[in-house]
Symmetry: C2
């Protein structure tokens, strides 16, 4: 058993996309009074854990993600460090931490990572706790300061999505242009004209059409595409454009 660093943790905001909405994976935090059976806490949190003494942030984030999703080699991006003195200090949080009695420090800073995964590949490692996907438009009450962390993750994800092709991490390897469009719409909270969106995307040489169509859909099957990071890296140009 490795020793943990008592005052530093990593929290993972795990995003998934189900072709309709952007979802986030949350873990239920539930605690009942042992004698009275009264519910002391019942809310949801992101997944996080303390880092180990000989562990980098990136490694800790990958470990936490794997523990929950079973997945390796997933897109993970460090987006912000949270260090407010009383970021975890509500009555509920204190009850919870006391109940855990793992020798955590009273002041914990946390480094936030978000991960992007293709929903369809995940089989949740349902440990003893309740784990569920929630649409970012319909979230339950969150424990600790996790609402704030999630808000920041979303803000950073949106900003990165606008300037880099990271959306593909949320899709299967082969995807349709409508799926890609819905992804952008779901994350950026907007809508695009289908013809204009297709025109724009089809100009991008790194979105490559396959000789293959969707199967088993009850409508006209769409063409499938793959994203080539390789072509992207070789052809990208940079712009400056703080909008008017």
């Amino acid at each position: 058993m490795q020793k943990i660093v008592p005052n530093i943790s990593v929290d993972c905001v795990i995003f998934g996309f189900d072709f309709k909405q952007l979802n986030v994976l949350l873990v239920e935090r539930k605690l009942q009074d042992e004698k009275t059976g009264e519910t002391l806490i019942d809310d949801w949190t992101l997944t996080g854990y303390h880092i180990f003494e000989d562990e980098d942030f990136d490694t800790a984030a990958a470990r936490i993600l794997k523990g929950l999703s079973g997945l390796d080699n997933i897109y993970l991006e460090q987006f912000y460090a949270f260090g407010k003195v009383s970021r975890v200090d509500s009555p509920k949080d204190n009850i919870w931490l006391k109940h855990q009695h793992e020798g955590f420090s009273s002041r914990i800073v946390t480094v936030g990572y978000y991960s992007l995964i293709d929903n369809s590949t995940v089989t949740l490692q349902l440990q003893e706790r309740n784990v569920k996907w929630f649409s970012i438009t319909d979230l339950p009450e969150l424990g600790f300061d996790h609402q704030e962390i999630l808000n920041k993750a979303l803000e950073k994800l949106r900003s990165k999505l606008r300037s880099e092709p990271i959306g593909f991490e949320l899709l299967p390897e082969k995807f349709t242009l409508s799926q890609l469009q819905k992804l952008y719409e779901a994350i950026l909270g907007t809508t695009y004209d289908r013809r204009n969106f297709r025109k724009k995307v089809l100009q991008m040489k790194y979105i490559i059409p396959l000789n293959e169509k969707q199967k088993a859909v009850k409508h006209k099957p769409a063409q499938l595409f793959i994203f080539s990071r390789d072509v992207y890296e070789r052809t990208k140009r940079e712009r400056f454009d703080f909008s008017i």
Copy 2:
């Protein structure tokens, strides 16, 4: 005297612009053997310090910045947290840390902030140590992992500059369009056609011309402008544009 958190620090990358180049403020790290007089260490570092037990990251960054520049209310942006296990573990770093004997932890994580300041407003608080501006194109040897931290700061600054109007933080309140252009060129490492740059900038309603010109220049005096964050916030639009 407040108690420090032994394993968490904040490092500030202080950027300044002198109308020619982007500069960064560094502090000399020099150590001589007390007996032989031999120079054990002579390199430069960013400014950083441990956080106090009852201090937020933002507050610590502002404190560190003020300690060096004397300035308050400066643009500060948290850009990344560095947590590699042996990020501060070279022979030089160990000699230095031993010499400081302040009870720091052997594993220190650091949260990086960059600040943008108008060079002309700074009077360096020259404490007992040597503090100097260096052009980012002509840097000395950096101690600890500060080259890596600086690289990341630059990367994040460039990316933010491309999509948000933060460059004005590096200029005096009243500036000319040529100064603005040189700023973008210096940070993004490129050049722009003067006519096209002016056309683009003059369309931006939040860059407001004044009835005022440069004085005491030995060429045709340029018109002065101010940036209005207020107008910017009211008129900005968002785009999605991972370049082709």
